[in-house]
């Protein structure tokens, strides 16, 4: 028995292929005699551009305030209040979109697709935190990013993550950044947005799997400080590198370190580095040899990973809808798959040649081949540099916040006795002036 819906679909296809859209009017619009007035469809307007500009101004103000609170005021409480504000404004009010993390993809896409223009607000969301990080360290992470804020708020019972695990997990963020750039550059998908764990929490609706993922991550955040920021966030990767060379930086003590070790365990993100011991001559020589070996290994690793990334292009290119469609059409044409999908039906409705689709798909696949070299090379370099970093002898005299890992949350300030002395001095001054 042929079902009615099948008949309707086949007629749809038939009509579409004959150009339903070309303005055939099967039933001429009537001339009304009763004085009936024809309504016209309503067109409710989107959010006005003015509000988008206000968002940029709020971002700028929050970044400025955050820098002041972290570097001058040195008050965890004030940072906390700003963090709550950012969570409410950028998170729950603005529904978490567009965010600086996702803006990476828009910027990347604009490099590779000449037809794509980034709205100016997104450009600002991408650039402003970077500029501030270059000057003041990761003040964006401290109190402006709503994703960081929501994790920071629930951090009640922090456990420290062992160093080797922390370093290992962190590599994932680099790979994620690479993948996000690859898929954005090829115009396939915005993976950062697709797998953003907290945006559905901000909206209290969305894809069920992502909601569960977000809830799990929040649960983990109770015990492990900011897991998304440390191990996943692709924007954090860029901020880390810029923070290494920032003009000003977070210092645990406002004065000279007295090595009292009180701050040692105060950081829930494992960003406080102890003073280094001198390496023995034996260790030194061993590490020097290892370093030389790793430097030679670096290009080999990059090339190897590049080759792997490139040869995986048949898998990675399936993120692109055209490639998926071409695959499906090929299966249908060769009789390997029965029936049709919505996409293949829609394609046949356009009347486009199958060969044209195949060429388009193989072009995209070739682009994924080239992109795979770059992505793989990047992964190789990241692993290589990580290994090299482990073999270099770093010198530290004091307890310091690691420039790259420090999220400028300000928790360590009040653990420093010197900070208490400073606060007292400040209070005395205020008392005198009154």
């Amino acid at each position: 028995m042929i079902r009615l819906s099948n008949i309707i679909t086949s007629i749809t296809v038939l009509l579409l292929s004959f150009g339903l859209a070309s303005g055939i009017e099967r039933f001429p619009p009537p001339d009304f005699e009763s004085g009936y007035e024809q309504p016209s469809p309503t067109t409710p307007h989107p959010r006005q551009d003015v509000y988008e500009y206000i968002d940029v101004v709020v971002l700028l103000a929050a970044l400025g305030l955050s820098s002041y609170l972290v570097l001058r005021k040195r008050s965890r409480r004030a940072i906390f209040v700003l963090m709550v504000f950012s969570l409410l404004y950028f998170g729950f009010w603005r529904k978490g979109c567009v965010c600086s993390i996702g803006a990476i993809q828009n910027i990347v896409l604009s490099f590779f697709d000449r037809d794509y223009a980034v709205p100016i607000t997104i450009t600002f969301f991408f650039l402003l935190p970077l500029v501030f990080t270059l000057f003041f360290g990761r003040v964006f992470c401290a109190a402006v990013c709503p994703l960081g804020a929501i994790q920071d708020l629930v951090l009640l019972r922090p456990f420290s993550v062992p160093n080797w695990l922390e370093s290992g997990l962190r590599l994932f963020a680099y790979f994620y950044l690479g993948a996000a750039v690859l898929f954005a550059a090829t115009g396939s998908a915005f993976v950062i947005c697709r797998y953003d764990p907290f945006v559905s929490v901000f909206r209290l609706s969305g894809n069920f799997n992502i909601l569960v993922f977000g809830a799990c991550l929040l649960l983990i955040s109770v015990f492990i400080g900011r897991p998304y920021c440390r191990f996943v966030c692709p924007y954090g990767v860029i901020l880390r590198q810029l923070s290494r060379i920032s003009k000003w930086r977070v210092t645990i003590t406002p004065d000279e370190c007295i090595h009292c070790r009180l701050c040692e365990d105060s950081c829930p993100f494992g960003a406080i580095r102890e003073p280094t011991a001198e390496w023995s001559a034996h260790d030194y020589n061993k590490n020097r040899k290892r370093l030389a070996f790793l430097l030679i290994l670096l290009p080999v690793l990059a090339l190897l990973c590049g080759w792997v990334g490139s040869s995986l292009n048949e898998v990675t290119s399936r993120m692109h809808a055209t490639v998926r469609l071409a695959d499906r059409i090929y299966l249908e044409e060769t009789g390997k798959a029965e029936g049709t999908t919505d996409a293949s039906l829609a394609f046949r409705g356009t009347g486009k040649q199958v060969e044209e689709l195949y060429t388009e798909a193989s072009d995209i696949q070739a682009r994924f081949g080239l992109g795979g070299w770059i992505f793989g090379g990047f992964v190789g370099l990241v692993i290589g540099f990580k290994l090299i970093g482990l073999s270099i002898m770093w010198q530290r005299m004091d307890y310091e916040a690691d420039r790259a890992s420090c999220l400028a949350c300000g928790r360590c300030f009040e653990f420093c006795p010197k900070e208490h002395a400073r606060q007292q001095k400040v209070n005395k001054k205020i008392g005198k002036s009154q």
Binding site: P41, P46, A117, R194, S205, G206
Partner: protein, 211 residues
């Protein structure tokens, strides 16, 4: 020994400072490059009704509980038929407004008598869930005056629209926010299929021209 140490610190500072300058210059360059690639107006997602096949994904894939996509009626194209294929199911028991005869799963289309033999069909947006069943019916057998549009009073304008990611025909595109709708009109020039954008490849393009 002391001086040597100082030298190495100075050298390190110099390297760090130049790297810092290079990064700032890089960001400046990025900003400069972006200026040529930015659009002042924001962009919004919209469905091109000429490409849309009314598959029904709009009703289920939106991140909102109730989809931002609704059916829109271009009255000027409507034939005001007594038997509307957007309103009645494939095999209606009777040509009346009874729920059992209707195609719309939520009863969002209102059928009112205008004058013999014409009936007006209005969409109650608070009931419409954007499934596109009526759109399919109207496109197949009628004038195609019903079509789906993203309603911007509801749309959150996600950076990646999750319906767009699931759209089988690539009908979603970004368009400037000051002209946020692609309405169907009785206009043979616009409806000409020759000027269509190629399937899918321009999903992220937002129609802003670059010289």
């Amino acid at each position: 020994m002391m001086t040597e140490n100082n030298n190495s610190i100075n050298r390190r500072h110099f390297l760090r400072d130049s790297l810092w300058g290079a990064c700032l210059a890089g960001l400046g360059g990025l900003a400069g490059f972006s200026v040529g690639k930015t659009s002042k107006t924001n962009t919004v997602w919209q469905i091109d009704p000429e490409i849309c096949i009314a598959c029904g994904n709009c009703a289920t894939y939106c991140v909102l509980e109730e989809s931002a996509v609704k059916c829109v009626h271009a009255y000027a194209m409507c034939g005001y038929c007594r038997i509307c294929f957007g309103f009645f199911g494939p095999e209606p028991f009777d040509i009346t407004e009874g729920a059992e005869n209707q195609l719309c799963p939520t009863g969002a289309i209102k059928r009112t008598f205008v004058e013999d033999p014409y009936y007006e069909y209005t969409i109650d947006e608070s009931l419409c869930m954007g499934c596109g069943k009526c759109v399919k019916g109207c496109n197949t057998f009628g004038n195609g005056s019903l079509f789906l549009q993203v309603r911007h009073d509801r749309c959150l304008n996600c950076n990646e629209c999750s319906i767009a990611a699931a759209c089988p025909s690539g009908a979603y595109k970004r368009i400037p926010a000051n002209k946020p709708y692609i309405l169907k009109r009785v206009d043979p020039v616009r409806n000409n299929t020759a000027g269509r954008t190629p399937l899918r490849s321009r999903r992220f393009s937002n129609g802003v021209d670059h010289a």
